[in-house]
């Protein structure tokens, strides 16, 4: 009997939120984004500001973990229960567009508005379909103390002085130490007992693209119509990353499966240099520096043949299943204004998307001139200017099915990182499948 009563109570408890929503008279808009419940509070606080600013629309935030974001949206699309709007994972934008799941956002920016950087526009069949809400580029971070200890000069923040690949590897060798304190350039170096690595190059599949570009090639042809990852230069670039660990012993083994590389490398003091997205400043480096755990600097990426970085950023979109597209659009547009997502920008998690922030020094000062950032001049050179002049959009801005493609490529490369196979073998052998994946037929 007791159990039955308990169960009845449970049922009631579950029904209550539903009933409460039904009594709300405003148009209720659900906005999904990736992040922890903690981050959800920050975004909900913004939404509450918007809700207070007018009387017709009420926005509720739904936080979905980053790792399963596309999966969740996919399943909700199948179930026809998508939220009204949300941030969209880059890898899913074109797929959603091609399936007609995105509402038209072309009118979001009027003719006179300052527009987002062109590299931040998602294009499907040449037409803009979504704009990134934030900008992110890939950088090289370094642990100052480890450089000072080895007496090695810091990596350059100025793209004009960027290291080429050999310089990068040579420096990494000086910073890789075995348990007897010999560095990797020394003949006495004991590669089996390494206690500190010189470099960690993030090998998440989408980030690898930058190295293919850097080596004068790419995963796809320029218009995204052809898969060119079997190009010798692209293969060579990937092999070079694997060789950092396999041949030069200057990098830890990383299998491209986790997203916490910055914690494990620069902050933990296990690697002197590491590549990663700009967001790391806000998500972990700033607080680690405040706590005195690490003193770090930012630099431009080393290059193989061409100086390049890639930029990315999830767009805010309105889903075509929404019953209130106009209201959803209103919120998205409001939220896209920098001052309304200022918390994320000034903390170093997001970079602004509008061009003026990069070209007008006063605005740049406002954005990056606070204590969350590395010294202003360094950041300006290694991030702001670098993003303006050297960033190319990641392929998911113009190639469909990157999710399938990246899953497969990640799977193929698994054996390359451990040295069981070469990049040439697996890519040549898997090329047909990669092409099929890019067409979305798997």
């Amino acid at each position: 009997m007791m159990k039955r009563v308990l169960f009845g109570l449970l049922l009631c408890a579950m029904l209550v939120p539903g009933l409460m929503a039904a009594t709300n008279e405003k148009v209720l808009i659900t906005y999904s984004f990736w992040g922890t419940p903690d981050e959800a509070k920050v975004v909900q606080a913004q939404a509450d500001k918007f809700n207070a600013s007018q009387s017709r629309i009420s926005v509720e935030v739904m936080a979905i973990p980053h790792d399963s974001y596309v999966t969740k949206l996919n399943t909700m699309a199948t179930a026809k229960t998508l939220p009204d709007c949300g941030i969209m994972s880059e890898a899913g934008v074109l797929q959603f567009a091609s399936n007609g799941l995105l509402a038209d956002v072309s009118k979001m920016y009027g003719a006179k508005d300052s527009k987002p950087l062109d590299s931040l526009t998602f294009k499907y069949k040449g037409a803009p379909i979504a704009y990134s809400t934030a900008n992110e580029i890939l950088l090289l971070y370094y642990n100052k103390k480890m450089f000072d200890k080895a007496g090695v000069a810091y990596p350059p923040a100025d793209a004009a002085k960027a290291w080429n690949w050999d310089q990068f590897v040579a420096t990494a060798k000086l910073l890789t130490l075995d348990k007897n304190g010999n560095n990797a350039a020394s003949p006495k170096f004991d590669a089996k007992n390494i206690v500190q690595y010189g470099a960690m190059v993030e090998n998440l599949t989408w980030q690898l693209e930058v190295w293919a570009l850097s080596n004068g090639s790419g995963f796809y042809s320029k218009d995204g119509s052809k898969v060119t990852i079997n190009d010798p230069a692209a293969i060579d670039a990937i092999q070079k990353i694997a060789d950092l660990n396999l041949v030069h012993h200057v990098a830890p083994l990383s299998t491209g499966m986790t997203d916490d590389a910055m914690q494990r490398s620069i902050i933990a003091g296990t690697c002197a240099m590491g590549t990663g997205g700009q967001w790391n400043i806000g998500t972990c480096l700033a607080s680690a520096r405040d706590q005195g755990i690490v003193d770090y600097g930012v630099a431009v990426l080393p290059f193989m043949k061409e100086k390049v970085t890639i930029n990315t950023g999830g767009p805010n979109v309105v889903f075509s299943q929404s019953k209130h597209p106009a209201e959803a659009m209103e919120w998205v547009k409001w939220y896209a204004q920098e001052e309304n997502s200022w918390g994320l920008i000034e903390s170093g998690i997001w970079m602004p998307v509008l061009k003026k922030w990069y070209t007008d020094d006063k605005l740049t000062q406002k954005w990056a001139g606070n204590h969350n950032f590395p010294p202003y001049a360094q950041y300006k050179s290694a991030v702001v200017d670098y993003a303006m002049k050297y960033a190319k959009p990641a392929s998911w801005y113009y190639v469909n099915n990157t999710n399938d493609f990246n899953t497969l490529l990640g799977s193929l490369l698994g054996e390359v990182w451990t040295g069981n196979k070469t990049a040439k073998d697996v890519i040549t052998k898997g090329y047909a499948s990669l092409v099929a994946a890019c067409k979305g037929s798997n």
Binding site: L10, M76, T78, T81, I267, I293
Partner: protein
């Protein structure tokens, strides 16, 4: 059996050594939860924290809403376990004791479904729950199936157990005018309590570990279970490993408590469950 004294001593030694090995991963997680991140990444790794920072747990609770996740998990588990145990008992009773047309076919179908892994039917069930009934981001798809028999295996277990109870007891009650449900309530249930608890345990563990279905059916962070919360906590960009380890250790507690409370019954239930025939 004089020689077995040394044997017993040897067995104790081996068991103690193996127990230490078995506990090592758990100790490792626990000691990691009490360290700073710097200590955590130190190499060679220290076997114990230099300072036992229990404050890490308080700090973790600020980012990891354990109590919300715990409540959500229990919102799924409690009704499911209760429903599964009850309906399995009802079905097991019918198969063990009652005569009715179609019994053999139904029993065959029931046993046959034991061979069908739950994962196989995930896709159509997902489509039915979400697209058909519109139940996304809801606990219903996770709970309701447990009110439908609690799984063939558990029905079978209960049936076997009931068959070990002497029929004379039922018959005596029947002569006194008791109907099937009275018999079930007053005779059968009291004597198969431990089997029911075993079934409850099996259901609990199954639900506890079913990350995949939780991932599929639950969307928003506020509805997360402990397992989902952990996976999100691990994946969040600010992954702070000593806190992740705190969260991991916290998630151990409910299962351990459940075991400690029920352990006498599990062992008894498993010993008595007629696994033999």
């Amino acid at each position: 059996m004089r020689e077995s004294k040394t044997g017993d001593r040897l067995a104790t030694l081996i068991l103690a050594a193996l127990a230490a090995l078995v506990m090592l991963p758990i100790w490792w997680m626990f000691r990691s939860s009490l360290m700073t991140n710097a200590e955590l990444f130190a190499y060679p790794p220290p076997l114990a924290p230099s300072v036992w920072r229990f404050g890490n747990y308080r700090a973790t609770l600020e980012n990891f809403p354990f109590w919300i996740y715990f409540r959500n998990t229990m919102t799924i588990i409690i009704p499911s376990v209760v429903g599964g145990t009850l309906t399995a008992t009802l079905a097991g009773y019918a198969f063990a004791r009652l005569r009715f047309p179609g019994k053999d076919i139904l029993f065959m179908l029931c046993i046959g479904s034991m061979l069908l892994p739950t994962m196989v039917t995930l896709i159509p069930l997902y489509i039915a729950w979400s697209r058909g009934l519109g139940l996304t981001d809801s606990y219903w798809p996770l709970i309701l199936p447990f009110f439908c028999g609690g799984g063939a295996f558990n029905i079978f277990l209960i049936r076997q157990f009931i068959r070990t109870i002497p029929r004379e007891l039922d018959e005596a009650a029947m002569i006194d005018g008791a109907g099937p449900f009275r018999i079930l309530a007053s005779i059968i249930v009291p004597s198969i309590k431990s089997a029911m608890i075993v079934v409850a345990l099996l259901l609990f563990i199954g639900l506890w570990n079913d990350l995949l279905q939780q991932m599929i059916y639950i969307n928003s962070g506020k509805n997360f279970t402990i397992a989902l919360g952990l996976s999100q906590f691990k994946g969040s960009l600010q992954s702070d490993w000593s806190k992740i380890m705190c969260a991991t250790c916290m998630s151990f507690v409910p299962g351990v408590v459940f075991y400690l409370v029920g352990q006498r019954y599990f062992v008894e239930g498993i010993v008595m469950t007629g696994l033999k025939s």
